[in-house]
Amino acid sequence: MSKVRVLAGTRKGAFILTSDGARKRWKVSGPHFAGWEIYHVKGSPVDPDRIYASQTSGWFGQIIQRSNNGGKTWNTPGSSQEELQSPDGMQKGESNKFVYDTSPETGKPLTTHQWYDGTQHPWEFKRVWHLEPSLHDPDHVYAGVEDAALFESKDGGKTWHEFAGLRGSDTGPKWQPGAGGMCLHTILLDPKNPNRISIAISAAGTFRTDDGGKTWKPINRGLHSQFLPDPTAEVGHCVHRIAFHPSRPNTLFMQKHWDVMRSDNAGESWQEVSGNLPTDFGFPIDVHAHEPETIYVVPIKSDSEHYPLKGRLRVYRSRGGGNEWEALTKGLPQRNCYVNVLRDAMSVDSLEPCGIYFGTTGGQVYASANSGDSWKAIVHDLPAVLSVEVQMLP
């Protein structure tokens, strides 16, 4: 029977939760990197023992950690004894070096974006929000960072290089940070088209490349954001999360600052599918592993009150790709619950029936082994959960 490994990033370390396929008894290991903020932990789909973690601190900056044995041990790539010297004798240790590309070769060196007061502000690297391992090579991994940019490493995280064409697109100077910072938080790798990547940035919107990352275009037509002077502007939308089912990469689902949206043409146009949701503000959105039209969101009261409506934690499920939603409540607290569920804190497994997982800012990781019909907390008292990813193990 397959095993499940849940990777939880929290404000004070990473935790690894494992279970057999029954998903009833869980073993908890951690905290890994105790005391550090772990924005994201994700394993390679090619090699589940290869895991990348984004470890960050307001004091000491960004660290990339890598495990080659399923999280038992970790290292900062490129800093082991045998890797200390490069062929030319220079010390390496560049696994945490994220430097924006402003070289003339990229065509458009870009150094500023819009700041909160409307002035232009230098791009400043702060942290890695999201790590997306390649679908084909365990040494190839993408990183979405704040201030918003996309990097990749092809050597297992030892060195990082920016896709400068994203920031250098015509709209870059108009991007501006949301309250949580200007972060590139979602990276969708198209399993059917290796040259296509879709990403999302708060608060710039969604962008897509069809040429392997050289050029990018905004794909925000149909989004409507009241907080913008032009609510249908090309960029400036606060997209919280996008998701797709691997079998249908042209159908994208989006949880926006307000509004749940879908696109059936790879983001060329979007339609609202909030339907009967009690509030369409929220952060995560995810898709059932076996039913491409079954999607999940966690409605949050509002952008000024980041907690569930009426203190009742409810996941909402649509079995028709949006518009018609049902509340999933069994096993979830239905009174006095004022946690939030952050954008990267929901994931699914591929067992039958599909398992759904999400973490809260109150430190719970909830799991459903029956597609959301009922829930149980795997753990109750972790630090605030920033991210949840699920791996299937043989």
């Binding site: 990197f33 105790a34 005391g35 550090w36 601190s57 307001g58 004091w59 000491f60 900056g61 960004q62 660290i63 900062t76 490129g78 800093s79 200390l84 010390q91 390496k92 240790g93 560049e94 696994s95 945490n96 070096k97 430097v99």
Partner: protein, 98 residues
Amino acid sequence: MTRVVLPPHLRTLAHVDGELELKVETPVTQGSVLDALEAKYPMLRGTIRDHVTQLRRPMVRFFACGEDLSHESPDAPLPDAIAKGSEPFVIIGAIAGG
């Protein structure tokens, strides 16, 4: 040998316990101490000073001989007691928060 004290999080990151002893090029300055530290522990690159600008990260401080040397030039010679190893060069994470 120059003695260096790291904050706990960086000791964990570098897989070391207690004080470090480093052979530092003379003249012994903040810059040469950090060069020696990062050469031996490359995972610390970028955590104490910026990768590109080489400037001290804002919430990291350098203490030595009871003085805060954080705002001294990286190229200024450190006190003899640091160079000789009778006193440690202390790197700390600034106290911040509640």
